[in-house]
């Protein structure tokens, strides 16, 4: 694979998604629909489904509706819902699993988040460490939205002036972690 290259949607993707969703469902099975997670979430205002509602749909196995929502992609992993859930459910981790599931399916409505993470991790695969300017430029290029970088331009300039980022052309890098990434991909395709 190379996480960067993997993930063409194949015919088995749907069955895989259902199996993965089963796992997530098992994580939240004891949910009593109390709504504490919704009340705790700092990003709830921007979500289309409240966390409580989304967990309900997960429990009902309504995969398509869950994956069509933006709710899980708006989780910023603050762990407040996990801390407060009266059933002690690993909700943040379950949100992470949904993100992974969505990433494997390359859902169009989650495109920008996906590209961001993909470019980030591709940079790590090549260099071992993150080269911030490189992955940001690749991300902007692939978003094909010429106005997007402008929203960050002021910040970019201030960072450049302070020598905190460098302008470097994307390079192939030393392939620092390629073997490790390939091994992980191979192991994940087995399970």
């Amino acid at each position: 694979m190379a996480l960067a290259e993997e993930t063409a949607i194949d015919l088995g993707a749907m069955t895989q998604a259902t199996a993965a969703l089963d796992e997530i469902r098992a994580m939240v099975r004891p949910c009593i629909q109390c709504g504490t997670c919704t009340g705790s979430c700092p990003n709830e205002f921007a979500m289309d489904l409240t966390p409580r509602h989304m967990w309900r749909l997960v429990l009902l196995g309504r995969t398509e509706e869950v994956l069509a929502s933006r709710t899980f992609s708006l989780c910023s992993a603050c762990y407040l819902c996990s801390l407060r859930c009266p059933r002690g459910l690993p909700l943040t981790e379950a949100m992470g699993r949904l993100k992974q599931l969505a990433a494997r399916r390359r859902l169009p409505h989650l495109r920008s988040g996906n590209l961001f993470y993909r470019n980030f991790i591709a940079s790590v695969r090549r260099h071992g460490r993150v080269r911030e300017m490189e992955f940001m430029s690749l991300y902007f290029a692939q978003m094909m939205n010429p106005w997007l970088p402008l929203r960050y331009a002021g910040m970019g300039m201030r960072l450049l002036r302070r020598g905190k980022v460098e302008l470097r052309l994307p390079s192939r890098g030393s392939g620092r972690l390629v073997n490790l990434f390939d091994k992980v991909a191979e192991m994940e395709s087995r399970s």
Binding site: Y79, T92, Q100, A103, V124, K164
Partner: protein, 294 residues
């Protein structure tokens, strides 16, 4: 007070002053830091969005390297909260599941590495609050930050899901340190609320909303003290944008070791203060009025 040290990628780039000031403060307090040799990225918040196994294997590689060092008995000091959580998660999860440790080790075998589960990852705030402690800091204060009001900002991932050193809902561990530095604590309830994390990159409107809420609650403080590069970046670099059209005034934002470093008499240059993006004129004036250490 000697530690292994994992800086993480941000501390080599956008958060250089966090690295600089952590090293300077720890040295001033007589602590020795040794970097993990050949460390690599912990996966940040990206690995979690893509692959469960990678989320564990990337940090585990660094823990395995730490164990292989001569100074393996030392605790591992980590200033970045996201790195801290990623490293700590591996320790916590492999402690309860040996099967998981075997799985991680199968992946690490391609690098010739083994993780045995013997590391102890500690957040910088934990080390400052408990290993050093306010009384020791207080004795070293050469330039009390009298009249400076500090809003302690903890963010999320040094507190949750593993509350190792503070209350995960109402954190207070910074307060004794701030008082020992001679400054005043800004009393607020937002210290452990989320800054929006990486939303600023992918969903800017949502991130801006979080930052505005925090900056509004910080009104009256001269400076916000942070312990995480992502919190710091969100609060300083997007401050103007977040406050546009509101009544709120700008607030300075610095890393906790920068603030404490000033109090022990270190030079602002030595603490990388020139690299911060949000040092307000008011904060600078107040600082300038405090006599430098003799």
């Amino acid at each position: 007070m000697n530690y292994l040290y994992y800086p993480g990628c941000s501390l080599e780039g956008t958060a250089r002053e966090y690295d600089i000031s952590t090293r300077a403060l720890m040295a001033a307090m007589g602590a020795d830091l040794v970097d993990i040799e050949d460390w690599t990225c912990c996966g940040a918040s990206a690995a979690e969005a893509l692959s469960e196994l990678l989320t564990l294997v990337l940090p585990a590689r660094n823990l395995a390297l730490a164990e292989a060092m001569d100074l393996a008995g030392r605790d591992l000091l980590v200033p970045c909260s996201a790195c801290y959580l990623n490293l700590r998660r591996v320790e916590e999860k492999t402690r309860v599941s040996h099967a998981l440790r075997d799985r991680i080790n199968e992946a690490l075998s391609v690098e010739g590495l083994v993780y045995r589960g013997q590391t102890r990852t500690r957040h910088l705030l934990d080390v400052l609050a408990r290993d050093m402690g306010a009384p020791v800091l207080g004795r070293r204060v050469a330039r009390p930050l009298t009249g400076i009001r500090v809003a302690p900002y903890y963010g999320c991932q040094c507190l949750r899901p593993y509350p190792a050193f503070d209350d995960p809902e109402t954190p207070r561990s910074m307060e004794p340190l701030i008082r020992a530095a001679g400054a005043t604590v800004h009393d607020w309830t937002m210290g452990g609320r989320c800054c929006g994390a990486s939303h600023m990159n992918t969903k800017m409107a949502v991130g801006l909303e979080r930052v505005e809420a925090l900056l509004t609650a910080a009104q009256g403080a001269d400076v916000i003290a942070t312990v995480c590069p992502m919190c710091q970046m969100n609060l300083e670099a997007f401050q103007k944008k977040a406050l546009r059209g509101t009544e709120a005034s700008p607030v300075a934002v610095v890393y906790l070791p920068q603030l404490l470093g000033l109090a022990v008499g270190l030079d602002p240059e030595v603490l990388g203060l020139g690299l911060n993006l949000a040092i307000t004129p008011d904060f600078r004036q107040k600082l300038d009025r405090i006599p430098t250490a003799a």
